[in-house]
Structure formats: structure tokens, C-alpha cells
Amino acid sequence: MKIHEYQAKGILKDYGVPVPKGRVAETHEEARAIAGEIGGRPVVVKAQIHAGGRGKGGGVQVVHSPEEAGQAAQKILGMTLITHQTGPAGRIVRKVLVEEGVDVKEELYLGVVIDRSKGCPVVMASREGGVEIEKVAAESPEKIVKEWIDPSAGFRPFQANKIGYELGLEPGQVGKMRSILFGLYKAFYEKDCLLAEINPLVLTRAGEFIALDAKMNFDDNGLFRHKDIASLRDLNEEAPLEVEASKYNLNYIKLDGNVGCMVNGAGLAMATMDIIKVVGAEPANFLDVGGGATTEMVKNGFKILMSDPGVKVVFINIFGGILRCDTLAKGVTEAVREVKVNVPVVVRLEGTNVEEGRRILNESGLNFAVAIGMKEGAEKVAEALKR
């Protein structure tokens, strides 16, 4: 789960990480009032969406009075912000963060992620802040300092010192950096993050560190023990069909193609998308109805799939193990009767109770193209698209 910058800064502040003075606003009047409270100049007004690159897209403005802050907020609130991370559709800005401007001498990077192959968290730091760390990693990996965390010993003070000195900081700065690193790591660990990042961490001319931007991604599997974090979810940042699907415990991701697909199991669902591409078409979505899907779930999945106007053909590819083919067939026939379906539906069933499943489809009186095997299924999809 992702959260907004202002929410991440709020959490990090609780862990002792210095952040600029400021608050979030949903109206330009509020933004103006907050700028007034901050008092100092300049003030920064930043669009709050779940994507990076906001500055380049016009979502960040530096202003010099509460009036200007109000005007900037008026411009940004409601705008559709397009960045390299939002895709061409962009995101509507509903909130802005209004905070004091910071006098920047240098921009650094701090981050904690899970190292999947080593199976533990890794703390990373670099003096090349303000750009994406992936870019630094690709172009000059020697500029990133890394410390892996032993799960039972935790993040040790010597490791934080090592990071500070390897970055070439002065002794006084190393101490300040250490406390920020500890705050960041503790927040990462205690809140079940998959990523916690301060980028940039600014070194001011006065020699202080301050987190100018922050990003935290949480482990969905850990949310059950963090009700406070779960409540930060912003449904406005998610595609409406995906929100709808999540209500039924369905895993749906909208894509831009013309073949809607419904599959059981994530790997087979991805493979089905891939084979659609092999036969020259494009998948319209990823939809995994799961191993234990019920007739009701299959029905809801089918409805969500069909509400995407881009779908010209539907490909249902089920390998029944726990999910039995007759359950699937019942769900699909019920859904097709309820929803007006005016596109061809190709169904490929295999596995547990497959004969019963095929019988239900064939005797339904509905117009399914029943395929034997994944290859034939994909070929029938391609044929249907040509017609």
C-alpha cells in the first residue's frame, strides 16, 4: 500500500526525523491560512498524489506570501497532473502540502528496502540525492553505501556510523545522520514497510539535515496489525474498477488492451496475458479469481471485466485444482445471463470436474467458444478478434 508524502512525513516526524514545518490542505483558503501560520518565506505548495516527478509536471510551486500560496493551491488543486509515473491519464490532485521552504546546500538520499535474495532489510545512502536511486544505481553504483541488517541484532550504531563516514560527512554531521537513519529504520521495521525513503534529505547551509520529501510503501500482508496505517489508504488514488474488485477479494489490474481475461492463479493469469500477446492481441486486464473462488466471486469478476469498454473478446482460462470447473461454469453462465454480453467469450477449462464444467457451458444455451488447451484458447481469441 502506498501513502502520500504528507502522511509519510507525519510518521517519520513521530520517529524523530526532522521535516519542514507545514500541513496538508484541501482548499486554497486552507492553504493560504497554513502559509500564514508558517510565517516564514518562501513557502512551498506541493501536489499530493501517489506518484513521483510532481515538480516537472507543474505540481510544486515556490511562493513568497500567504496570498501567493492560496493562488498556487487554487491552480494545483483539481488539476490533472501527468508525470512519468502516472501514465498518460494522469491523476487529479485533491490535496496540497503547504510547508516552509528549505535552504538547500546539498541533497542526499536515504532509503530502506527488503533485499529479496539476502532475505533481510538493507539500509542505503548516497550523496546523489534528489534523483531516482535506480538511476544512481545504474550509472554510478559506487556512490551508494549499503548496510545489510542482521534480523536478530537489528540495525547497529556502528553501521549508521559507517554509512556517515563512508559518505564523507564531517564527524558532527555523522551523529545527526545517525539519528535520522535510526528513525527511518525504526519506522520501516515497526510499521511493516517494504520501502521507506527520504529523497532528498537536505543538508542546509546552517549544517542541519531535514527530510524534504519522503515515501513509504507498506506490506499489504502486514496491514492487519497496523490499523493506523491501513486507515491512510486513499481510494481516490486507485482505479475505480480495482477498488470494486478488491471488495470481492478479486485481484484485478486494468490494462489498455482489447482481450479481457479471467484466470485462476496469478502465474497462469500472467501467462494468459503473455499468450494473448503471442497471438497478436493485447490483454485488457489481469484478473486472478484465486484458487478458492466461489460462484459469486466468478460472477463479480466477470461483471468487473465486462465494465471495461475496451474489451472486445473475453478469454476465460481456468485450471481447476481447488477451484472446480463446475463452480466456474456456473458462475460464468449466471454472470452472462445477468450482464448483457455482446462480445465473444472463449472458455478454456481443465482440471477437476472438467466434464461437468464443459457440460454446463454447452447446455446453457449461451454462445461460448469452448477450447481444449491453452493454445487452442488463444487461437480462438485471435479468430474472434478478426471477425
Partner: protein, 293 residues
């Protein structure tokens, strides 16, 4: 032969009295797996279909000589269940649970490593040595005993591949689901090494997907250490970056972990990479034919 589990494997089911645990215990017994014990704290002394239930894994091991475990325990308690298994001397632990917090697995991996246990999963369909032993939730009847070893991060996609093989009368020595999470126990490298040493296994299939670098690590390992032919399919060539594709571990993060990179790494290591998931069976048939001639 086969790897990790066979007719001598004695299984204890953790969470045997839950819905899932009970259903799959019956399926495993029906397949011929020796399920010798169950564990549910507080329900020790009961019997389920004649299988004795214990309060702890240690009691179950003492009472029945169980040497492998199947874990059907909810996500919040599953990490603890894996550690209990390892602490009780279980050498092969199969954790079927989906949804375990990643940081719990960080602790688990270190803990079991120190105790010499092997973990399969979590978030896996399990492991099966056809005709001998099944610990997991896969449909047993699609499998056939034979010479192809399968290692996969996926469930139903593995069934798909197994089905393609079995329909061509190509059997499997052992099929292992390593799990779809970010942090798992045994990985491709560990299992490739076991299959390489297993005299019954003549060839291997790797079913990978986007996210992480496990396939790239496997490629490096294969280049130096594997003499048997390896065939690979990587799912997710059409997956968008930054999105979690169903499995917790299936995500292209920061441009890394793409299917393309993995296919290239494996191809460069001499692995035959198939791009069409419907053709895995045919390709394996061709490989085995070449091997015989």
C-alpha cells in the same frame, strides 16, 4: 528416486483441525501420503480420521517420528508455526499459507537456517513426488511419475505445465512450488542442485515470473553447476511496471525484475527459454528425444 519427499516421508499437519487443513489432509491421505500426526494447540488427544492430534509439534515428533510438516495456519501465526517445526527437528517444512508479513519471513529465514531445516514456500501449492508423496494442495491426479523435475513460483501455471507433460506421457520426478512471496525458503539454486544430483531426474523445468532476481541467480548457477538440460518459462512479459501481479513477489520495481531480463540471463546460461506457455510440453518432449538419441 525423487528429491526431498518420497514414500518414506512422515508428515505432521499443523492446523489439521481448520477447514483448509482438514480438507487437504484428506486429499493427501487419499493420494497415499503418510500423514502420521496433526497439531492444533488445545486439541491434543483427539483423533481425526484416525490421525492422532497433538498440542505441539515436538509432541507429534516424539509420538510419531514425523519428519516433514505441512502448515495450514492463518498468516498471523504461520511464521511461528514454521519456527516451531524447525525447533522440533522437522527437516522439510512446507508452508502453504498465503499472506505472511514479509518481515516475519526475515526472522523465519534466519531461524530455520540456524537449525538446518529446509522450508518450501510460503504461498506455495507445495511439493509432490508423483506416486510417492504429496504435501500440498495440488490436484494429485494430473501428475505422473517420471524423470522431469519442476521448480515454480506459481500454482496453477505449474498444473498447466504438469498437465501438458502428463498428456504427452512425460512423468515428473518431483514438482516443487517455491512460493510467490518476496522472501521464500528454498530457491531455484537449492533445488537445481538437488535435481542435478538426483539420478532419476533427467531434465528440469523452471517456471519463473517477474520480480526479484532469483531467476538471474539460477542462470549463474546453471552455467557453472548444472549438466542436465533446463527449460524455462517466465511469466509476465506483458505485466506493467510497479504493479503487484497477484503474488506478493511479482512486481517490477525500479525497472528491475522484468521477464525480459530474466529470459536473457537464462538464455545466455544455455537454458532453453520458451515464450509461449502452451508449448512447454512440446519443448520438453523435444529435449528428451534429443537426450535419448
Amino acid at each position: 528416486m525423487s528429491i526431498l519427499v518420497d514414500e518414506k516421508t512422515r508428515v505432521v499437519v499443523q492446523g489439521i483441525t481448520g477447514n483448509e487443513g482438514l480438507f487437504h489432509t484428506r486429499q493427501m491421505v487419499e493420494y497415499g501420503t503418510k500423514v502420521v500426526a496433526g497439531v492444533t494447540p488445545g486439541k491434543g488427544g483427539q483423533r481425526i480420521d484416525g490421525i492422532p492430534v497433538f498440542n505441539s509439534v515436538m509432541e507429534a515428533v516424539r509420538g510419531t517420528d514425523a519428519n516433514a510438516s505441512a502448515i495450514f495456519v492463518p498468516p498471523a501465526f504461520a511464521a511461528d508455526a514454521v519456527m516451531e517445526s524447525a525447533d522440533s527437528g522437522i527437516k522439510v517444512i512446507v508452508c502453504l499459507t498465503e499472506g505472511i508479513p514479509t518481515l516475519d519471513m526475515v526472522t523465519v529465514r534466519e531461524y530455520i537456517g540456524e537449525r538446518g531445516s529446509k522450508l518450501i514456500g510460503p504461498n506455495t501449492p507445495g511439493i509432490i513426488s508423483p506416486g510417492k508423496c504429496k504435501i500440498g494442495v495440488m490436484a494429485g491426479y494430473i501428475h505422473k511419475q517420471g524423470a522431469v523435475g519442476i521448480i515454480s513460483r506459481s500454482g496453477t501455471l505449474t498444473y498447466e505445465v504438469v498437465d501438458q507433460l502428463t498428456k504427452k506421457r512425460i512423468g515428473q520426478s518431483t514438482c516443487v512450488g517455491i512460493g510467490g512471496d518476496q522472501i521464500v525458503g528454498l530457491n531455484y539454486v537449492d533445488l537445481l542442485a538437488l535435481f542435478e544430483r538426483d539420478p532419476e531426474t533427467k531434465a528440469m523445468i523452471m517456471i519463473g515470473e517477474i520480480g526479484g532476481t532469483a531467476e538471474e541467480e539460477a542462470a549463474q548457477f546453471i552455467e557453472k553447476n548444472v549438466s542436465k538440460p533446463v527449460l524455462a518459462f517466465i511469466a509476465g512479459l506483458t505485466a506493467p511496471p510497479g504493479r503487484r501481479m497477484g503474488h506478493a513477489g511479482a512486481i517490477i520495481a525500479g525497472g528491475k525484475g522484468t521477464a525480459k531480463e530474466k529470459m536473457e540471463a537464462l538464455g545466455n546460461a544455455g537454458v532453453r527459454v520458451v515464450r509461449n506457455p502452451a508449448l512447454v510440453g512440446e519443448e520438453m518432449e523435444a529435449i528428451l528425444k534429443r537426450q535419448r538419441s
